[in-house]
């Protein structure tokens, strides 16, 4: 295992300390917890957004704490949902009287832990609602599975719901907006290499020199299938096709796209994918309103990428455009 770490058991704590030292104008840590909140919390009269999940997805989620996005991020161990008490601490720290929206990614563990926190908060009369992001089309959404996973599309939920909260909308409205994003966002990923969970010390899976794993999540879990590695343009098409099988996007529809790196993929490769993604969408007469390229929802040192497509309407467009100022996502 080649990592710049000290002790696998301390990575989350030391990382959080490093984040706070890097971004003191944005975040502070609730003492005794793994919760980072905006420097000035709670903010009165504004719905607060709390997200989180296992660590190892940096800059998710702490990197998105700031104006126009999250109020708090809760970090679990690497790839492990945080515990309910931690989420509860986050809720208490950011509630400004107008209620708190939990943004949960669709994993059994995340849902159970966040819901338990919600139950705890309700006992203390804090208004809490939640949404579950499930953008990953690799997994079929049926009663015979745990449903689609939440992956990179989550960033767009943070951005847009965050903008809605910033505008002073009610908890119900912010939840409705978040749900609208979730209903219209889809992602699909692939990877060229596995990642190494620090505490496990070895690769989560092995790939041959000429293989790629398609339809994988962001926790080092294997994907839906394995293929011979293809050219960037073919990979891009394969991911997009799978997305468009799942959601109807018509000619003249407007979309936001996100080409997300999983951690070890050079930006060069993400831009090469982006180039072809634009071509493919242009060919279909789908209008690209907004493009985001970078490492936003990573999986430690995994090499690979995901594509996210969000179908927009006027309300979503306006919220996407509004100002965001967080360590990892800024919109001026």
């Amino acid at each position: 295992m080649k990592k710049i770490i000290n002790n696998p058991e301390n990575v989350v704590n030391e990382m959080l300390e490093g984040i706070v030292k890097a971004h003191p104008k944005y975040v502070r840590r609730i003492e005794g917890t793994d919760v980072l909140v905006r420097k000035t919390s709670p903010i009165k009269g504004k719905v607060a957004l709390v997200s989180g999940g296992g660590s190892g997805h940096e800059p998710s989620h702490a990197g998105f704490v700031g104006k126009g996005m999250l109020n708090a991020a809760v970090s679990g161990e690497v790839f492990t949902s945080p515990t309910p008490d931690q989420v509860f601490e986050a809720i208490k720290a950011v509630d400004g009287g107008k209620g708190v929206l939990l943004i949960i990614k669709n994993y059994t563990g995340d849902i159970m832990n966040f819901e338990m926190a919600e139950e705890m908060a309700e006992l203390e009369d804090i208004k809490v609602k939640h949404v579950v992001v499930n953008d990953d089309v690799a997994v079929e959404d049926s009663t015979y599975t745990s449903g689609r996973r939440g992956i990179a599309g989550t960033i767009l939920v943070h951005k847009i719901a965050g903008a809605a909260a910033e505008e002073g909308m009610s908890l119900e409205d912010v939840q409705r907006i978040a749900q609208k994003v979730i209903k219209n966002v889809r992602s699909m990923g692939m990877s060229l290499s596995s990642c190494i969970v620090p505490a496990a010390g070895k690769s989560s899976f092995e790939l041959e020199e000429d293989e790629m794993e398609v339809g994988l999540g962001i926790h080092g879990e294997p994907g839906t299938h394995r293929e011979k590695i293809k050219k960037a343009d073919e990979i891009t098409k394969e991911l997009l096709d799978k997305i468009l099988e799942d959601i109807e996007i018509k000619k003249e529809d407007e979309v936001a796209i996100l080409v997300n790196g999983l951690g070890a993929t050079p930006l060069m490769e993400l831009y090469i994918m982006n180039r072809h993604l634009h071509k493919l969408l242009n060919d279909k007469n789908i209008k690209i309103y907004n493009t985001i390229v970078g490492n936003f929802m990573t999986s430690l040192e995994m090499a690979g990428a995901s594509i996210t497509i969000l179908k927009l309407d006027d309300e979503l467009k306006q919220l996407l455009d509004s100002i965001a100022d967080t360590p990892a996502f800024k919109n001026i």
Binding site: G54, Q86, T108
Partner: protein, 212 residues
Amino acid sequence: MISNTLLIKILNNIAITIKENKEYLTHLDSVIGDSDHGFNMNKGFNEVRQKLEPLQNKDCGTILKNVAMTLISKVGGASGPLYGTAFLKASVVIKDKYEISEKDSIKMFDESIKGIISRGKAKQGDKTMLDALIPAYQIYKDSINKGNSIEIAISQAQKAAYEGVEYTKTIKATKGRASYLGDRSIGHQDPGATSSYLILKSISDTLNNINK
């Protein structure tokens, strides 16, 4: 009959068992999950172990409630809330009691499983811990009802749990993280079913050594 002192001993031994199997559980989770089951279970039970000392003379309900809260706040992931809920439900059955009777133990086992089901919405055959726990519970109940001791019943139960673990190898996961793998999950044993088996096995070992 299990006294509060014996209960503490059982819990201590479970923690040791989990620690010994940390790498093994993580390895199983790396194949069809996300490589954290051993680490997280150990983190939780290690904390449980450190909390046992001051609980020495408390009633069994208080002891188990503390175990439950510790697991809930230390394990995380899917197994944290599930095992936490299981211990919490069991603790309610023996609230204020200093001894656990045969009858209590059936109820505790039953309530634990119900708790896991209501929290996780899974059922037998989904390739989860339930595939070890449910058959184990059925044998346990039958055995006690036939008049067997807890020692004998739990020994039979852990064998059933083991078979349940073996059974998980043959089926496709439809709940939890392994479900994303679809058919590719077949052939691999479920980490949570395995930790459930290890817990039952540890209880059985403790009880049967003591009585020898």
